[in-house]
């Protein structure tokens, strides 16, 4: 079990934070391009899910899985988007993302007057707290399968 990486996008669609732990393969493009592609993917998946759904959606898109990884998505009511790539067996990643939002983002970004809303997060304390929290999860294992 592993956690590969984490993206945080603001409501306007720019990436405000990116972190990676066990990512073996790089995208072969600049980070800037990758973030745009990622946001485009999420945006189209969201509208796709909304249209395809046979009944009315509440949360909409939750996650998708390929043969090698699983992409988990959580959006807050304010439009903040958390995307975490994990291995396919990881369960309840949504709760992890909610905890990251509640225990790290709100505590160390929203309550920090030095952090400008909607701008890239450069706070070192956010970085360390996030890393500590992610490493404490049972699905995070340093052992690469």
């Amino acid at each position: 079990m592993t956690i590969y990486n984490l993206y945080i996008f603001n409501a306007a669609g720019s990436c405000i934070y990116y972190a990676e732990w066990h990512r073996k393969r790089q995208a072969g493009m600049s980070k800037d391009e990758e973030m745009k592609l990622m946001y485009g993917l999420i945006f189209s998946l969201k509208s796709f899910v909304l249209k395809l759904s046979p009944v009315d959606c509440k949360e909409g898109f939750l996650n998708y899985r390929t043969s090698k990884y699983k992409l988990n998505f959580y959006e807050t009511a304010t439009g903040l988007k958390f995307i975490m790539n994990t291995d396919i067996n990881a369960m309840n990643v949504r709760e992890i993302l909610q905890r990251i939002y509640r225990e790290v983002y709100v505590e160390y970004v929203v309550k920090n007057p030095e952090c400008k809303m909607g701008k890239e997060i450069v706070s070192e304390v956010f970085q360390t707290k996030l890393d500590k929290l992610v490493r404490s999860f049972p699905i995070f294992s340093s052992r690469i399968l």
């Binding site: 592609l37 990622m38 395809l52 959606c57 949360e59 998708y64």
Partner: protein, 193 residues
């Protein structure tokens, strides 16, 4: 339980589509002046953009006013829906709302949305996509044809995988016919098999 099946060709064209047991969501309600909902004209449909009452949700479209079906924003007698709901004399008014259903063109567009992102080497495309109201299963053959099943999220996963394999088998069985048909469709982009 609603199940839809989509078959998408290598190039992303919709070859076949089938909906099973789809219950249309429609509600009628009588309103007094002023209307408690905000209606707007979105994608050539009169859509609810704000205010949810009972079963009427944001995103639902107006299907009929006083039993008159509407086309775009016009009623059958040619009057504009927004003019009608602005006028106090037309109240109480009975409006029928419904969840917009997908047109053939929209289904074709949806068939093309299947991209890939890779965090690990030698990875396939999307196999399972989960939303709160449905689960989508996709099986891609070696030749690139995709079989897609949309099902209830509560359903067991193995059933869908079984269903996908079965659909693939059925198509293999009609191999010669299907092959010819698929080639024809790949060339012309026809949607009815």
């Amino acid at each position: 339980m609603a199940v839809s099946v989509y078959i998408v060709s290598k190039a992303g064209g919709m070859i076949y589509q089938y909906d099973h047991n789809v219950v249309p969501i429609e509600y009628e309600r009588t309103f007094t002046y002023p209307l408690d909902l905000t209606l707007d004209y979105v994608n050539s449909r009169v859509t609810v953009t704000f205010g949810e009452i009972d079963t009427i949700k944001v995103g639902h479209i107006v299907l009929a006013v006083n039993g008159n079906p509407i086309m775009g924003r016009k009623m059958s007698d040619g009057s504009d829906v927004f003019e009608v709901i602005k006028n106090k004399e037309n109240f109480p008014i009975s409006i029928k709302f419904g969840r917009p259903r997908l047109g053939t063109n929209e289904k074709i567009v949806l068939g093309q949305i299947f991209s890939r992102r890779k965090a690990e080497p030698h990875c396939s495309g999307i196999e399972v996509l989960e939303a709160d109201t449905f689960k989508l299963y996709c099986y891609q053959t070696i030749t690139g044809t995709k079989f897609i099943v949309v099902a209830d999220p509560k359903q067991g996963g193995c059933l869908e995988t079984y269903l996908l394999k079965k659909i693939y088998e059925v198509c293999e069985y009609f191999d010669t016919n299907l092959q010819a048909a698929l080639e024809q469709i790949d060339k012309t982009g026809m949607t009815n098999v």
